[in-house]
Amino acid sequence: MKSTAVKQALSSLALRVEECDYAARGYHLNVTIPPEQVVAAAEILDRENFFLEAVTGVDWLGEQEALAKEAAKAAAAAKKAAAEAAKKAAESGEPPPEQPVAPAATPAEPVEDSFEVVYDFNHYPQLCRVVIRTRVPRHTPQLPTISQVYPGANWHERETHDFFGIVFEGHPDLSPFLLPEDADFHPLRKDYQP
């Protein structure tokens, strides 16, 4: 099976590799890597004769806030449950259960939202869709280009730069591509105001 071989080859540089349910998701392998490893990953897939279908981005603006809210909600729910358990225990005359030590309330360090860069790879003879994902911070969205490995990535990366303002370092030409030649905006950013 192709995906097993690729999984092994990629596992050394990946943060996370998961095999997906193809019928539900539409791809076989979901690989998360740090941004500085994209060239190495592309080289591995190139050796395995994969072709590049597309490169694109996703703006996760507001994700950290939503995560923090969710965490706070979960913490509140846990606290409530503990209080209720203590109350119940007091009513039944049992010694109150040991209070879980609440984690020291450190003021949550604001984590910055990120752009996700998604690379779709596929294989001509054997069906094996590999999705490579990486995250770059929103204020310095930079990662290396893979256009020296896959010349086809040149245009995809240029388009991603147009739409999101993600900078692919070492790319030969990141001037506006689909947008007007004097465009200085990035329309697929979630905070874009026309």
């Binding site: 539900a24 998701r25 539409g26 279908e53 998604v118 596929n122 069906l127 086809g152 007007p180």
Partner: protein
């Protein structure tokens, strides 16, 4: 002083083709660096028909985006309907009744034939042959009439719905489609006699604009461009969606990689599509054409989904990122011609200008789909 200018024999100049040029079939511009009649560097300049469909997707509900898909590649709009319906059905877990799947396949293949026919006419017109255009318009008209009777439109179809199709086909359509298959089978040898065997055409296409399989892979080319270079890749065969796995058809592949190979792939594909239409009509089961329970407001669960469909020009892929609401969070449209035309710069290097235009035509570009 630049080294090139030092030697007048190597002096180059810039030639601009388009954006308004009959050979570019839409508004595409190519910046050519020429050494006399020969191309040193070719750089396509895109964006003249850019409409930002992907942003529109983030601003409307799932069903509201369906008409947009027909405006990407207006020559094979139903293939694009299929790709988008497919990704939302996969994400939301909507089952499509069998009859609807067969109707989808039959209409998509008719649409593919009409797209290939128009390409044939326009391509030969680029090379200076006017007559085939008139013949293909006649044949294509039959398909447009058929599709108009079920979909309600002639070009930018919006016929598919999540969970089925908008309208059932009637007996007139079935009879009309069968008649068309018969008519087209009789016409195909005529096209081969008139066009494929034409010595002028052959000399303009054979051995010209060769694209190697390795170049296809490096640029991500799919569809007839890859199949003309010996790569037997077709989404309908490799990851069969809809009911393609139950139908019997071949994937035409030519090894040469020249413009003629791409030409022959498309002509053979017309025959294969006719086979699919015929079988689809034979096997068409009775039953509903819409799933019984499709929610009015489609809300796919949070997550990231991908679906690919074989359009007339190659693999059309849709990546959908859902945040669980009635609007897509992100909708990436991977259009085949975007990748196919990206190899033009490399493939055209060293060609005569006239041959480069033949290569250009053989890529079968539809600009609104590249620019999106």
């Amino acid at each position: 002083m630049r080294p090139l200018a030092a030697d007048p024999a190597h002096e180059t100049f810039i030639l601009n083709v388009g954006p308004q040029h009959p050979a570019t079939h839409g508004a595409l511009r190519v910046k050519l660096t020429m050494d006399g009649e020969y191309i040193v560097e070719a750089e396509p300049v895109l964006g003249y028909i850019h409409r930002m469909h992907e942003k529109m997707g983030e601003n409307r509900s799932y069903p509201q985006f369906m008409p947009n898909t027909g405006r990407l590649d207006y020559l094979s709009a139903l293939c694009y309907n299929h790709g988008y319906a497919g990704v939302v059905e996969r994400a939301a877990g909507i089952e499509v009744p069998e009859r609807a799947e067969y109707i989808r396949v039959v209409t998509v293949e008719l649409n593919r034939i009409s797209s290939h026919l128009l390409w044939l006419g326009a391509f030969v017109l680029d090379l200076g042959g006017f007559t085939p255009l008139l013949y293909v318009m006649d044949d294509r008209e039959q398909i447009l009439d058929l599709l108009e009777s079920v979909t309600g439109s002639r070009l930018t179809y919006c016929y598919f719905r999540f969970g089925g199709v908008y309208n059932d086909i009637d007996d007139d359509f079935i009879v009309g489609a069968r008649n068309f298959v018969k008519r087209m089978r009789e016409k195909l040898p005529m096209y081969h006699n008139l066009v494929s065997k034409n010595i002028i055409l052959r000399q303009r296409l054979e051995g010209i604009g060769v694209i190697s399989p390795e170049m296809c892979r490096k640029y991500g080319a799919t569809g007839p461009v890859a199949r003309g270079s010996g790569i037997a890749y077709d989404v309908r065969k490799q990851e069969p969606y809809s009911v393609y796995s139950e139908l019997n058809f071949d994937i035409p592949v030519y090894e040469q990689g020249d413009s003629m190979a791409r030409y022959l792939v498309r002509l053979d594909e017309i025959e294969q599509s006719l086979r699919i239409v015929e079988q689809g009509l034979d096997k068409m089961p009775e039953g509903p054409v819409m799933a019984a329970k499709v929610p009015k407001a489609v809300k796919p669960p949070k997550g990231d989904y991908y679906f690919a469909a074989e359009a007339a020009r190659g693999a059309f892929g849709v990546r959908l990122v859902s945040d669980g609401t009635t609007t897509p969070y992100r909708l990436k449209l991977r259009s085949p011609s975007f990748s196919n035309v990206s190899l033009f710069g490399e493939a055209a290097r060293g060609l005569l200008l006239a041959d480069a235009l033949a290569l250009f035509g053989s890529l079968d570009l539809v600009i609104p789909e590249i620019d999106r």
